[in-house]
């Protein structure tokens, strides 16, 4: 494939990123999806929409989020390198998305979609959630704007993310445990789509990541791109130059797309998306759609999927509920195909180790999702020179995960 002039112009008018993306949905939803596309195009071009959103981003979400030099982690990894007889140890920065209101990057996207729903006159909001972070963000903004909120969550995830389930209920949302299929994120998305087909007249589906039918992947990316735009300004201020590498965990891929997109046309910036390797790729129990999957069609888009030879979707596995999904956003699939972003994997065990290192050295308890990115930072940073600037998206805080981590460490809470 010839390299395009810019990596930032996608998707095309039919929602394609290379062969990926598209609009694979039931006819019942098509008219609404076309309406949504129009409404979003109009909002995007409307300075009043942008201004209103900026106001809430500043005063309600608490943006900009800091770009923080993780000094002790950097020192620690330089020590590790030195002991191995090397002089590596990149300078590590965290983009502190965990400091946003509700504790993760998810709120950036939800704010945009909720404001769009209001513009479209929709008063009932539905969402799917895995870790519960997207559900909490949606419940929060629905409370703030007085909208009805129904969140679909796999029954397995309801069990392993109890604090977030209670938070959503406190915020006035109805949480529906989904009992079908593998009872995780993909099944929550199926159930949300079934609700949408049924209640299409008054309902807005607030998708939590850069996946689903066009226009969602591009729209969610646009709302999340504030992460990368801020990072660009902040690193210029701190270091006077662009970073050498960016790294983020990839579930559906929204925190990664948000960080990467504003840098895609900067050829010196290397990018790593980290997929969840669960018990290891060879075990077959993982959630690494690009590394271990093939292109297929699910949830409105073509993208890399985990499936069997008959096209039946496989159950993903990850210790992190937010990464436990057998697909990935279509733009990532394309960025993989053209080689602009490198996709690597991190196991449950590596993420658990990194979770503890970060907590002890930086006083930041990371979400298990971004602990996967951190697991690979520990590896990559030691192999890079000390003047290498590496920015990791610390996409969420880990309070929601303490029960899971305690269980794996054999501790009683």
């Amino acid at each position: 494939m010839n390299a395009p002039n810019s990596f930032r112009t996608g998707p095309d008018e039919r929602g394609h990123f290379g062969i990926h993306g598209g609009r694979f949905v039931a006819e019942t939803l098509m008219p609404l999806i076309l309406e949504l596309e129009k409404a979003y195009e109009a909002a995007r071009a409307d300075p009043a929409f942008q201004a209103e959103m900026d106001g809430y981003l500043t005063h309600y979400v608490g943006r900009p989020s800091p770009l923080y030099y993780a000094e002790r982690l950097t020192e620690h990894l330089r020590d590790v390198a030195r002991k191995a007889g090397k002089d590596g140890g990149a300078k590590i920065y965290f983009k502190r998305e965990e400091l946003n209101h509700t504790g993760s990057h998810k709120v950036n996207n939800v704010l945009g979609q909720i404001m769009l729903a209001r513009r479209m006159g929709k008063h009932r909001i539905i969402a799917e959630t895995g870790a519960g972070q997207h559900g909490v963000a949606t419940a929060t903004l629905c409370a703030r704007f007085g909208l009805k909120c129904v969140v679909y969550m796999g029954a397995v995830d309801v069990e392993r993310q109890k604090p977030n389930v209670f938070r959503m209920k406190m915020l006035g949302a109805e949480v529906v445990p989904v009992q079908s299929g593998s009872k995780t994120l993909k099944d929550a998305m199926n159930e949300a789509l079934r609700d949408w087909v049924t209640n299409v007249h008054d309902t807005f589906y607030c998708i939590g990541t850069v996946a689903g039918p066009h226009p969602y992947p591009g729209m969610v990316r646009d709302f999340q791109s504030i992460i990368g735009r801020e990072t660009r300004e902040q690193i210029m201020e701190a270091e006077g130059r662009l970073p050498d590498s960016l790294i983020a965990a990839v579930g559906g891929g929204s925190n990664a797309m948000g960080l990467f997109h504003p840098f895609l046309d900067d050829p010196t910036v290397e990018m790593f998306g980290v997929e969840a390797a669960g018990h290891g790729i060879a075990s077959g129990q993982h959630a690494a759609s690009i590394t271990g999957g093939k292109p297929g069609v699910l949830h409105g888009n073509r993208t890399y999927l985990l499936m069997d030879g008959d096209g039946q979707i496989a159950e993903a596995h990850s210790i992190s509920a937010g990464l436990d999904y057998p697909g990935i956003g279509p733009e990532h699939s394309w960025l993989n195909d053209i080689g602009r972003v490198t996709y690597i994997t991190c196991t449950d065990a590596e993420a658990l180790a990194a979770f503890q290192v970060c907590s002890k050295l930086e006083g930041i308890i990371p979400a298990l999702e971004c602990a996967h990115a951190l697991g690979k930072v520990l590896e990559l940073a030691t192999e890079r020179p000390q003047d290498h600037l590496m920015v990791m998206n610390l996409s969420g805080r880990g309070d929601k995960d303490i029960f899971t981590v305690a269980e794996h460490l054999g501790a009683q809470i």
Binding site: E27, T28, L29, G311, Q312
Partner: protein, 281 residues
């Protein structure tokens, strides 16, 4: 008007025969491989004798986003029993050995077909005796994927029109539709709300204003009485979840077929056919 495929298909012939008889048709849906391959084939073979005019054969998929609990569960039963798309095509082939006229329409989701390979699938489906396809997650916006290749291969692509498909959009939906139009009588998933027969009649008239194709109506039709009421205003009525639910109710405590399974489905199909056949148009 016949479909834009090269020559009339079994579907065209069947709807012409129904028009001659002056009655609406019964379209029955079952899930291929539910509860197991052999029982499912026996049900398939029994349906024409029970009065099914057209058969929709559901292709099981792990993530059927437009289906309600009954058809979701049927798909999972079939997958657990080892059903695959290749086996479903094999079932059609076996059926065709004893029935050369009853149209068979495969209904499902795109991924199993995409993974099988579109060209290979169309060749194998045509050879097996498949007449039409309903693929829920392929709207007209994605016609290049399967609809146009299917028409070129002589297989009808049957599109769903829904209550949200307004007059502006209808021509696009009907453009490459062949065989018949499937009107989804409710905004919702299979097997949920019961449609209002009057509203359905009005909608069918609206669609007929745009096409000469027959219109079948489905989603939510459960009893012979409902089927007859809907059939009054349409060329055919589709019943699915109720038949699939009958399969489930006949199973033993381990989910295995019993001696009751095939006769129970046959009996409901016959009751539905009797009710539909009593309607004059």
């Amino acid at each position: 008007m016949t479909s834009p495929t090269t020559s009339p298909t079994r579907i065209d012939d069947r709807f012409q025969a129904l028009a001659k008889e002056g009655r609406p048709g019964l379209v029955t849906f079952i899930t291929a491989g539910d509860p197991d391959g052999a029982t499912s084939l026996a049900i398939l073979k029994a349906l024409p004798g029970a009065g099914a005019d057209v058969i929709e054969l559901g292709v099981p998929f792990t993530d059927p986003m437009a289906d309600g609990p009954a058809i979701q569960a049927a798909g999972l039963r079939a997958l657990r029993a080892g059903q695959t798309l290749a086996k479903t095509l094999g079932m059609v082939k076996a059926f065709r050995e004893g029935d050369a006229t009853t149209p068979i329409v495969l209904m499902g989701y795109f991924n199993p077909i995409y993974v099988y390979g579109v060209d290979r699938f169309l060749a194998d489906a045509k050879a097996a005796g498949v007449d039409g396809l309903i693929v829920v997650d392929l709207p007209p916006e994605e016609d290049d994927e399967l609809c146009l290749p299917a028409l070129a291969a002589g297989i009808d692509f049957i599109r769903l029109a829904t209550p949200t498909t307004d007059d502006r959009r209808l021509p696009a939906v009907l453009k490459h539709t062949a065989g018949f139009v499937y009107y989804v009588s409710i905004t919702g998933i299979t097997g949920s709300a019961t449609p209002d027969a009057d509203a359905v009649g009005t909608a069918v008239k609206r669609i007929k204003g745009h096409t000469a194709l027959p219109v079948a109506v489905g989603f939510g039709v459960k009893t012979p009485e409902q089927a007859a009421a809907i059939a009054k205003g349409a060329d055919a009525v589709v019943v699915g979840s109720a038949l699939v639910e009958t399969v489930r109710a006949s199973l033993d405590s381990h989910g295995k077929a019993t001696a009751e399974t095939v006769p129970a489905v046959e009996q409901l199909a016959r009751a539905l056919a009797d009710a539909v056949r009593a309607v004059r148009r």
